[in-house]
């Protein structure tokens, strides 16, 4: 009979108490680990897609909603802004702005968002083409790697976009879109997006009767960037062609959803004041993503902290429960332990045997807790994928596994040390004579 076997048989001799102890213990550990994993994945996703963006401009509304929508693509737009009003921030010559990325949102395909933008977006994220080529004008799209994988789309395939972000019947646009390229996985939000020209979005929402199949692929010469005089009826002119920024801002009658901005120097006083000035002096709003996200973390932190405390409380209760179990079991088993002493067991043997039971309970509880946490994580991961198209790691590595293993071990030892000391101190004669 080895000691592990004896410890296990002792534990399972009271199945109800064992179940209660394991349930409490594994819930405490499982909830803690689940929160750690979720928190780390949320932060990772947010931080990875921060992309050095210093300011987001959009229609007036919630700052957080605007950032969630434009940077993480998990919320609805606050509205649209006119090119006329925001064109200053789209100009490449802006003295404060290093990079500006216009976004036109509002359409999707099977739950994956279609983002009308220009190729400046690829400077924000570590994007590389896997196959094909980048979108080159209205109606052409480049797919993020997850979109291509999950929807099974390949080069040359066509689809119709849906109005809005939900996959709903009857809201498809008439214009077909053709896949011209697929990006390599980047671990960024691009993996989950369908990138296209802003003109695609405008064309899809244009009420005019354009037949895009008939549009030529000729390249326009925009060197002079002087398009104001065209009267802005451009849909017939630049259907499938990626036009430069100078041309884009001539569409003063059109709207986009957001502009993502990187400053030349984010510590520049004027750059720091720019969001405030935009809010005060225009119909647009501007937000600083790091600031807003810190506020969000703080708010989210309250909820997470509350749950952490619940988890800690469960761990404490389970520790007390294990202590009571071992203590009561010791009282019931004191004659049996005294007999073991008679048979030659040393006080150390009894001490370590009781300690082993506490540790074994904590190890089993920890293992069940980890399994519960991973089940919870996998379910949440599936929900996040379905709802937001974010791909979380399958079984993420986290220092929390080791930290919680240490805590579990500590709880096992603390809960069993007093009963173990009492076992150590058993007086054979007194016990057997009582």
């Amino acid at each position: 009979m080895n000691r592990l076997s004896v410890a296990w048989k002792n534990l399972k001799s009271d199945p109800l108490r064992l179940t209660l102890n394991l349930l409490l213990f594994s819930l405490g550990i499982g909830l803690s680990l689940y929160l750690l994993l979720i928190n780390s994945q949320v932060r990772k996703a947010f931080e990875k897609n921060m992309a050095g963006i210093d300011m987001v401009i959009g229609a007036k509304g919630s700052d957080l909603q605007m950032i969630f929508c434009s940077m993480y693509h998990i919320d609805n737009p606050t509205g649209n802004i006119s090119i006329d009003e925001c064109k200053a921030f789209l100009k490449e010559q802006h003295p404060l702005i290093d990079l500006s990325v216009p976004l036109a949102l509002g359409d999707s395909h099977k739950g994956y968002r279609i983002v009308g933008t220009d190729q400046s977006v690829l400077k924000l994220y570590p994007a590389e083409l896997h196959e094909g080529k980048l979108w080159a004008g209205s109606g052409t799209v480049t797919l993020g790697s997850n979109v291509a994988d999950i929807l099974g789309l390949s080069l040359g395939q066509t689809f119709n976009s849906t109005h809005g972000f939900e996959d709903a019947d009857g809201l498809e646009h008439d214009h077909e879109m053709v896949v011209t390229g697929i990006l390599k996985p980047s671990g960024s939000v691009l993996d989950n997006l369908i990138l296209t020209s802003i003109y695609t979005v405008w064309d899809n929402h244009d009420t005019g009767n354009h037949n895009h199949q008939d549009h030529s692929h000729e390249h326009h010469d925009h060197e002079d960037n002087d398009h104001e005089h065209h009267g802005h009826d451009h849909h017939d002119e630049h259907q499938h062609i990626e036009l430069d920024r100078g041309h884009l801002i001539t569409h003063t009658d059109k709207e986009i959803t957001n502009i993502l901005i990187k400053f030349k120097n984010r510590k520049n006083f004027q750059a720091l004041n720019l969001p405030n000035n935009i809010r005060k002096h225009t119909n647009m709003q501007a937000a600083n993503p790091p600031y807003i996200l810190n506020q969000f973390y703080d708010r989210m932190g309250i909820g997470f902290n509350l749950l952490y405390w619940v988890a800690i409380l469960i761990c404490i209760v389970s520790s007390i429960s294990i202590f009571i179990s071992l203590y009561n079991a010791l009282r019931a088993r004191k004659y049996q332990l005294a007999i073991l002493r008679v048979e030659g067991a040393s006080p150390n043997y009894l001490f370590s045997q009781i300690l082993l039971e506490g540790i074994m309970l904590s190890i089993i509880g920890y293992c069940i807790g980890v399994i519960l946490a991973l089940i919870g994580y996998t379910v949440t991961r599936g929900m996040v994928l379905e709802r937001f198209q974010y791909v979380w790691e399958n079984f993420p590595q986290h220092p929390g596994y080791f930290m919680l293993a240490g805590i579990a071990l500590m709880i096992g030892v603390i809960a069993s040390v007093i009963p173990a000391i009492r076992a150590f101190r058993i007086q054979i004669h007194e016990t057997l004579s009582s």
């Binding site: 004896v6 048989k9 008679v342 048979e343």
Partner: protein, 214 residues
């Protein structure tokens, strides 16, 4: 023949008012003795003293040439584990383990080297081999006592001490248990000392020492 056990002027008191004085006892290898005494006279106390479980207030207990209470706790535990088998009035076993597991655990703790087949052989001699897979709470009092005897003899000790081994048994079981004890004692050439108030054991040809007769 050299004495396995030898006591000299053992006295013990739990309080100032009452001192228990015990006769000197010598026990040779393979010899069996019965210590008979009425309830409360200190029979169990004497057995605990002889088994190295309770240090007497005064006096000396020599076992296999060693003064028991001059040994360290560790040495005493080891000596008791290997050389002294004790059968208690009320047998106690680990309730979470089966009978066979209890025997194996005891064998492991005492450093005994009995194999599983030897365990079954001994259990067969005590007629409990068919009950070895049962848990202690599933065994009758007689079966528990026989299991207790099995545990005591398993490590092939130099001496067996039995404290009221038949007090809870009827006549039939008493005769059976005593016969088995004597038989095993002869088989293993073990010294046997039974402490009891049960006068029925006088009929079993033991050398008897009566406590309180001095």
């Amino acid at each position: 023949m050299a004495n396995i056990l030898e006591t000299l002027d053992i006295n013990h008191s739990f309080d100032k008012d009452r001192v228990m004085r015990f006769p000197n006892i010598q026990l040779e290898k393979g010899e069996s003795k019965l210590i008979l005494g009425s309830s409360g006279i200190g029979k169990s106390t004497l057995l605990h003293v002889l088994g190295g479980l309770l240090k007497p207030t005064s006096g000396r207990v020599n076992f296999m040439g060693k003064s028991l209470y001059e040994l360290s706790t560790k040495q005493l535990d080891q000596l008791r584990g290997k050389q002294i088998g004790i059968i208690f009035q009320k047998p106690h076993f680990m309730q979470s383990l089966t009978a066979i597991e209890n025997l194996k655990l005891s064998n492991t703790i005492s450093g005994g080297k009995s194999t599983t087949s030897q365990v079954y052989e001994l259990a067969e001699q005590l007629n409990i081999q068919s009950r070895l897979q049962a848990f202690p709470h599933e065994l009758s009092q007689g079966e528990l006592q026989r299991l207790s005897i099995c545990r005591a003899f398993l490590k092939k000790p130099a001496m067996i001490l039995a404290d009221e081994p038949t007090s809870a048994l009827d006549d039939g079981n008493t005769a059976q248990v005593v016969n088995q004890l004597q038989s095993l004692q002869q088989t293993y050439d073990t010294a046997l000392l039974i402490v009891t108030h049960d006068a029925r054991l006088k009929n079993h040809q033991f050398h008897t020492i009566e406590l309180g007769a001095e």
